[in-house]
């Protein structure tokens, strides 16, 4: 019997979750700010390093300090930075003078599209594997697959990337591995563009998928095994349902619930991995942007990226918690 949804505790839970989220958000801004403040030297120094003449550089240095507000106390600097953040103003890049917001916006899609694709792919491939392994627990299929997946799980994604580039990219010349599209992309027909994009997406998506694949299928298997032991599964079997129906309709759907939390965990891992993978595949995404900004000592971009990724992760976990509550009526909010 389903419980009648009880609104107040849920609303209270959401409020509380939202409030802690706000505290965390505040903490994120502090940490981001501190990391930049930890840095030896300041942006004004970095920009005047190459200038000729001591007096000129001294004058320019003072001007820049004023410009960046570095002559003010730290808490005023923090306040000003927060003030600009609230207006979604991330400043302009030290490196090329472009607005940081537009740099990040351009890099967002390449990273997100690969992440979404790889999560979907991992889900589609790992679900049947997990179900079959759980249904035939400790059978030959289960044993061989879990051993293989365990091995695969231990290969870092950048190692897979290097091997794919070496064998599929260089030796067999099957797939391109530099950038998102070929040089002649603009002249291609619509179909040609799709094929070109697909070929470029292939290897980097595979790299990101393989890591989560092993994790996901073990996760599906584990959850399914847990659900199968529940009373309502025994009831379903007692009713005389076929094993397929029991597993797919009753057990599997319920075993999906913890998956939501897993999605929240996968996301930061994918972002982390994207730094090396995107540099390796010359992919114009967030990871490569971050790495380039580190090399260029581009404070505003770094701060914005740190802040935005942390907020995305935070939002992801909040959403996962929320969805968890919506999907699973057994969760209590007290």
């Amino acid at each position: 019997m389903r419980m009648i949804p009880n609104i107040p505790p849920m609303a209270r839970y959401l409020m509380r979750r939202f409030m802690t989220g706000l505290v965390t958000l505040f903490g994120i801004t502090i940490i981001t700010f501190v990391i930049i403040k930890l840095a030896p030297g300041d942006p004004a120094q970095a920009r005047t390093v190459g200038l000729q003449g001591k007096r000129v550089s001294e004058r320019v240095y003072q001007q820049l300090r004023e410009y960046y507000g570095l002559d003010q106390p730290v808490y005023v600097q923090y306040y000003n930075w927060m003030d600009r953040l609230c207006h979604l103003d991330f400043g302009t890049s030290f490196y090329d003078g472009r607005a940081v917001a537009s740099k990040i916006r351009d890099a967002l899609w390449p990273t997100m599209s690969v992440a979404i694709l790889s999560i979907l792919l991992a889900f589609i491939i790992s679900t049947p594997i997990g179900i079959y392994s759980a249904a035939r627990q400790n059978g030959p299929f289960d044993r061989s697959v879990s051993t293989t997946l365990y091995m695969v799980y231990s290969i870092p994604s950048y190692v897979i990337g290097m091997l794919l580039i070496l064998y599929l990219g260089v030796k067999l010349e099957l797939f391109p591995f530099r950038g998102m599209h070929s040089d002649n992309y603009a002249q291609l027909s619509t179909l040609g563009k799709c094929i070109d994009l697909g070929r470029h997406y292939f290897m980097i998506t595979v790299c990101e998928t393989v890591g989560s694949l092993a994790y996901y299928s073990r996760f599906v298997r584990q959850n399914l095994l847990e659900v199968i032991r529940q009373d309502y599964i025994r009831t379903a079997r007692a009713k005389g349902l076929s094993e397929t129906q029991v597993i797919l309709k009753h057990a599997f759907v319920n075993s999906l619930i913890p998956f939501i939390t897993l999605l929240g965990l996968t996301f930061p891992a994918l972002l982390s991995g994207s730094v090396i993978l995107e540099t390796m595949f010359n992919w114009p995404g967030l990871g490569r942007l971050f790495f380039e900004s580190v090399l260029q000592r581009d404070y505003p971009t770094l701060m914005a990226l740190n802040f935005i990724t942390a907020v995305m992760v935070l939002a992801g976990t909040l959403l996962a918690d929320l969805a968890y509550g919506l999907v699973d009526p057994r969760v209590s909010y007290d």
């Binding site: 802690t20 505290v23 965390t24 903490g27 994120i28 940490i31 990391i35 930890l38 840095a39 030896p40 365990y150 091995m151 799980y153 231990s154 290969i155 870092p156 950048y158 190692v159 290097m162 091997l163 580039i165 070496l166 260089v170 030796k171 092993a214 994790y215 073990r218 996760f219 584990q222 930061p268 891992a269 972002l271 982390s272 991995g273 730094v275 090396i276 540099t279 390796m280 971050f290 790495f291 580190v294 000592r297 770094l302 990226l305 740190n306 990724t309 942390a310 907020v311 992760v313 935070l314 976990t317």
Partner: protein
């Protein structure tokens, strides 16, 4: 009865007894031990100087001395005898069999920095994995890279354990607002993708291996802190804590003598997985050029030189790939078996 029969095996003894029955865990442990030995004896496995030699009428053992000089502080006590202490002294050039010199070379008679042959040569009998872009023997560099990975893995996790146990113990023991603020702080740290955090900090310091270790340690302690906190909360209310308090033990004595030792076992699981992560993060950082700096060898920067010479020298890529894979796999296997022994509830789930 003799004393031995009545003596209980103790907590770690019991863990070891069960651990022995996990085949995969034992395989992992053997690999870890072998990697340890390779790392420590690297100067005696691959060096441009011999293990034992006769030079100009005297006996020397330069590779053996190199090995022991790696141990901290020993380098201040044991020295090479002249002429081996001179940086400009190249034994292979001065070696003269006609004078009666002989040498017992290391199994791979090339040093990790020695430019022993032509660059980018494919594997041959002399150089089993070939040579890199400046003609250094790759097998020798792989061997010396092992010690970099092991050092980073263990030292950075050592740092992480200290920080994690400290915060975890305080949060778990004190409870209340201390607990809330520390837990919240951990939650905030976890919002930053690890690699972003590491690179974000590392960017401001010279890329040296010590800094890499410290930063990995500084960013890797949250898991340990959470484990320790949970354990200490569980043990805080136990009888032996109450007994200790009744005997008049102070807070620090209760934490350090009673609670922490008892919560170490679950922390060990987290540490083992953490070492695997540290090794792969170090290799990744070195690949990006932020870890171990050339010419010093690390699996990561060797993989990078493979990437930079993709079309001319494909033989550079597989060796570091295999090494990183085996190292990560070994620690994961040990961690998995350890968890099955210590916490059977979680059997079979990953990390």
């Amino acid at each position: 009865m003799t004393e031995q029969n009545t003596k209980s095996p103790g907590f770690w003894g019991r863990i070891w007894r069960q651990f022995r029955h996990y085949k995969l865990g034992m395989v992992g442990l053997v690999i870890v031990v072998v990697m340890f030995l390779v790392a420590f004896f690297a100067p005696m496995l691959a060096s441009e100087r011999p293990i034992l030699c006769r030079f100009d009428g005297k006996l020397y053992a330069p590779a053996v001395i190199d090995t022991f000089r790696q141990i901290p502080l020993v380098g201040r006590v044991i020295f090479h005898s002249p002429p081996f202490n001179r940086a400009s002294f190249v034994f292979k050039q001065e070696f003269n069999p006609r004078r009666g010199d002989w040498a017992l070379w290391t199994p791979i008679p090339f040093g990790p920095l020695e430019m022993a042959a032509l660059p980018l040569q494919s594997p041959s009998r002399l150089h089993m994995l070939g040579t890199d872009e400046v003609g250094r023997d790759i097998l020798s560099r792989m061997i010396h890279g092992t010690s970099v990975s092991m050092k980073v893995g263990f030292i950075s996790m050592g740092i992480a354990v200290l920080i994690g146990l400290f915060f975890g113990a305080i949060a778990g023991y004190a409870g209340g607002w201390t607990d809330i603020s520390i837990s919240r702080f951990i939650e905030i740290i976890m919002c930053f993708p690890t690699f972003f955090l590491i690179l974000g900090i590392l960017a401001w310091f010279p890329p040296r291996i010590e800094n890499v270790m410290i930063v990995i340690g500084l960013t890797n302690w949250v898991g340990i802190a959470r484990y320790a906190r949970g354990e200490i909360i569980r043990l805080r209310g136990s009888d032996f804590t109450t007994a200790a308090r009744a005997l008049g033990a102070g807070h620090s004595r209760i934490i350090f003598r009673h609670l922490l030792p008892n919560s170490l076992a679950p922390v060990m699981i987290s540490v083992t997985f953490g070492i695997a992560t540290a090794i792969l993060v170090e290799a990744g950082l070195s690949w990006l050029g932020f870890g171990v700096q050339p010419p010093d060898p690390s699996w990561g920067n060797m993989l990078r030189s493979g990437y930079d010479n993709l079309f001319t020298a494909p033989h550079l890529i597989p060796p570091p790939c295999v090494a990183i894979f085996i190292a990560v796999l070994a620690f994961n296997l040990v961690g998995d078996a350890l968890r099955d022994v210590i916490d059977p509830r979680l059997q079979g789930s990953m990390k």
